[in-house]
């Protein structure tokens, strides 16, 4: 094959025929174009069913929320809390393409509680993407076709689901991943590579994320870096309930071991469970296709009431999600996040939960579900201390040492922090001695009026009565 030539100049070749001008347009081509348009027909289904993209559809058509729940009830020992968890997960999914702050959710439950089953059921839909063994969202790699192989390009407009979050937090790149997700939450992300001239920037990303795992996930304290995740806990069943669940599991295991597994795809052999998975996947597809319609059905709700409620929820969670910086050498110390993001997320969650259930008002079940998320998102040492003080009315330092399972120095640090963020106040009270003669001063800790009011509203309890 000849080279192009020295110094990159092209070699001139003479043309064999004399050039002629191309045919002038006479409008005839428009008539012909119109003829082409007149020949159009919708593509029939039988002409478009051959090709398999590689993701076999494992879903079954389902547009009925109650029907899906009934199917789950028929194959698992069901509790109301499980329905709340599934509802919140579906609310995250339906919110994927809606504008505004995204919903990132952490589902925390003990091993064997069923959280992985929910995740796997949602992953039967192509609108969900399994995110496991993650090393990062960006890749500088370019394939043979020059396409962008970054994960973030592939998961846009899908809900990311991590069924085993504990594996994620034990990864060495966990900190890097979490720092990237904070920006992704805002719908933007970017990466700069030292071996590329252009930076990669993504905008308009919609990538809600659900991480399921055990309570070990709470050990990864992201509060100081702007935690984007709402949390929901699935508590362990009571002892009797546990025994009944085990009996059911034993029956199911006996039935399973009697049959040969289908090794091609790791499918469950229990027909009811498989159907529950398929219906859940199908319901996810239905929600994604009809999200606008379902959400707009709630336009007639009492918006001010919902907004006021979510403002208080946001303030509540912002107070209790805050954590002190335990490293005394660090400069940043007593700060808490602004409640704006949380307010936005709670309102979004409430609307989306109602939309999932197909309601046109916010029902009590949805209210209780969102309240549960508020409480679960707030859980931690800060919340534990404040709750003890709330229920007791007031507590002295000695009493705190007894009720809180922490070293004394840590408790003192937490109390100082709670005072700094206006959750707790220190009050000197006068006490009568047993003899009733001399007075003694003691310091106790009470919640501020603002926080007490919030706790009463969120916990739905009356505060404890003070001893003095």
């Amino acid at each position: 094959m000849p080279s192009i030539g020295s110094k990159g100049k092209t070699k001139k070749r003479s043309s064999k025929k004399v050039a002629q001008a191309p045919p002038q347009s006479t409008g005839d081509d428009l008539r012909r174009f119109q003829w082409l348009l007149d020949q159009l027909s919708p593509l029939p289904d039988e002409m478009s069913s051959d090709c398999n993209l590689g993701n076999q559809d494992k879903t079954q058509e389902c547009d009925d929320y109650e029907g899906m729940i009934r199917q789950w009830k028929s194959c698992m020992r069901w509790r109301d809390e499980m329905e709340q968890v599934l509802l919140v997960m579906l609310a995250v999914i339906i919110s994927t393409e809606q504008k505004g702050d995204q919903l990132f959710l952490m589902l925390l439950a003990n091993a064997g509680s069923g959280k992985t089953r929910f995740c796997d059921a949602l992953l039967t839909s192509q609108h969900c993407h399994a995110l496991e063994h993650l090393t990062g969202f960006h890749s500088g790699w370019k394939g043979d076709d020059g396409e962008d192989y970054s994960l973030i390009a592939r998961v846009d407009r899908k809900t990311m689901i991590t069924p085993e979050g504990d594996v994620l937090i034990s990864s060495p790149s966990f900190a890097q991943v979490m720092s990237q997700q904070r920006r992704i939450f805002d719908g933007k992300s970017g990466a700069s590579y030292k071996n590329q001239k252009e930076d990669k920037n993504y905008e308009g990303l919609r990538t809600p994320w659900i991480i399921a795992g055990t309570h070990t996930l709470m050990d990864s304290d992201q509060s100081r870096l702007g935690d984007r995740f709402l949390k929901i806990h699935m508590s362990s069943p009571g002892l009797d309930e546990k025994r009944m669940i085990q009996e059911r599991v034993a029956v199911s295991a006996f039935e399973s071991v009697m049959e040969v597994s289908n090794a091609q795809d790791k499918e469950l052999n229990e027909g009811k469970m498989a159907k529950a998975y398929q219906m859940t996947g199908g319901f996810v597809n239905f929600l994604r296709d009809n999200s606008q319609t379902r959400i707009r059905a709630l336009m007639s709700i009492n918006v001010e009431e919902v907004q006021e409620l979510c403002v208080q929820y946001g303030e509540f969670a912002a107070d209790f999600r805050a954590r002190p910086n335990l490293d005394e050498n660090k400069e940043s110390n007593d700060t808490k996040e602004e409640p704006n993001r949380l307010t936005s997320q709670f309102l979004r969650l409430m609307i989306c939960c109602a939309a999932v259930r197909g309601e046109d008002t916010i029902s009590d079940f949805v209210h209780n579900t969102v309240r549960k998320v508020v409480i679960d998102t707030s859980k931690g040492r800060t919340f534990e201390m404040a709750t003890e003080i709330f229920r007791a009315g007031e507590l002295s330092m000695r009493q705190l040492y007894v009720v809180i399972n922490l070293p004394e120095a840590r408790i003192r640090k937490f109390i100082r922090f709670l005072i700094a963020i206006d959750v707790v106040r220190k009050v000197d009270v006068k006490m009568r001695t047993n003899r009733g003669t001399s007075r003694k001063r003691a310091s106790v800790y009470r919640l501020t009026t603002r926080v007490k009011k919030l706790m009463r509203m969120v916990l739905n309890e009356a505060p404890g009565k003070r001893a003095h």
Binding site: S6, P22, D29, Q39, C51, K142, D144, E147, R157, N195
Partner: protein, 292 residues
């Protein structure tokens, strides 16, 4: 200076094939190929056999400041061809091609089709609109074909001028010439359509699917009659196969089009008709080669 082993052309490593395809003289040893730079002419153009990365130690041609890979090499070659054809250069060749293909010279130049000195370079793009393939429109045994640069994957024609945010209907045709012919007609008469061309009816990269999410898509493929076997069986080919293949991919994508229509030749519902010549395409209709 190490002695270069001259190997047979058949043994050319895959990493060197894109360079060889575009006229770079490739003689290589175990690690490197050192040859004449196609951009400055100096004998200091080094291509690493293992990775396919190239660098000229004289002109340092690059997009990133660190040499070239096969994709950036294609883009730089295209830039060079654009410069060579600037100021209406190679006018005679353009006029001949325009006459032959039934389009105007402006349409050819606007599409980035460049005379290289011996044949035509036709750019194609990935799903994001970046040029990642440079076809050569050359004569092979009495007919002209568009050959792809080896190992560079398939590219879509017209993607550089496709607006993903536009609400216009999108027409997908087969090949660059149908695409140009249709685009010229659409622009001439201000019709509200966009048009892109796929390199073959069996070629549709999954990464292209996102371009068509939520849009009204029209598939205009060739009128290819089925192949008839001796035993009377008929096997679909060409355009009909393309309708099935592309249609099913579009329908099954995570973001499917709002609607999919197809060019139903003769209204038979089969995607072809015996009323028109076998292999008739959109360009044949627009240029009058097919009687309608």
């Amino acid at each position: 200076m190490p002695k270069l082993k001259k190997k047979k052309v058949d043994d050319c490593p895959d990493t060197l094939k894109p360079y060889r395809f575009h006229g770079v003289d490739v003689n290589w040893d175990e690690k490197n190929c050192t040859t004449e730079c196609p951009f400055c002419g100096a004998d200091k153009f080094v291509i690493k056999v293992e990775t396919g990365q190239a660098r000229c130690f004289v002109c340092n041609v690059s997009e990133t400041g660190r040499g070239l890979n096969k994709s950036s090499f294609l883009r730089k070659m295209h830039e060079r061809y654009v410069a060579l054809n600037a100021n209406h250069g190679s006018g005679e060749f353009y006029e001949n091609l325009a006459q032959d293909r039934g389009v105007t010279v402006d349409t050819l130049r606007d599409a980035g089709i460049m005379w290289t000195g011996r044949d035509w370079a036709v750019p194609a793009y990935n799903g994001d609109g970046k040029m990642t393939q440079l076809y050569r429109y050359i004569k092979v045994e009495k007919k002209r074909v568009c050959l792809p640069t080896p190992t560079c994957g398939a590219g879509m024609f017209g993607r550089d001028q496709f607006d993903p945010k536009s609400k216009h209907q999108v027409i997908i045709v087969e090949g660059v010439w149908d695409m140009l012919s249709l685009r010229e007609t659409i622009r001439r008469h201000n019709q509200k359509f966009q048009v892109v061309g796929i390199p073959g009816v069996n070629v549709f990269n999954n990464y292209w699917l996102k371009m068509f999410g939520g849009k009204d898509v029209i598939l205009m493929f060739d009128n290819d009659s089925p192949k008839e076997h001796a035993d009377g069986r008929k096997t679909d080919k060409g355009g009909v196969v393309g309708l099935r293949y592309v249609g099913s991919k579009l329908k099954q994508s995570v973001s499917p089009p709002k609607s999919i229509k197809f060019l139903d030749w003769g209204g038979t519902g089969l995607g072809y008709s015996g009323d028109f010549k076998d292999g008739a395409d959109v360009r044949d209709v627009l240029t009058g080669s097919v009687t309608i």
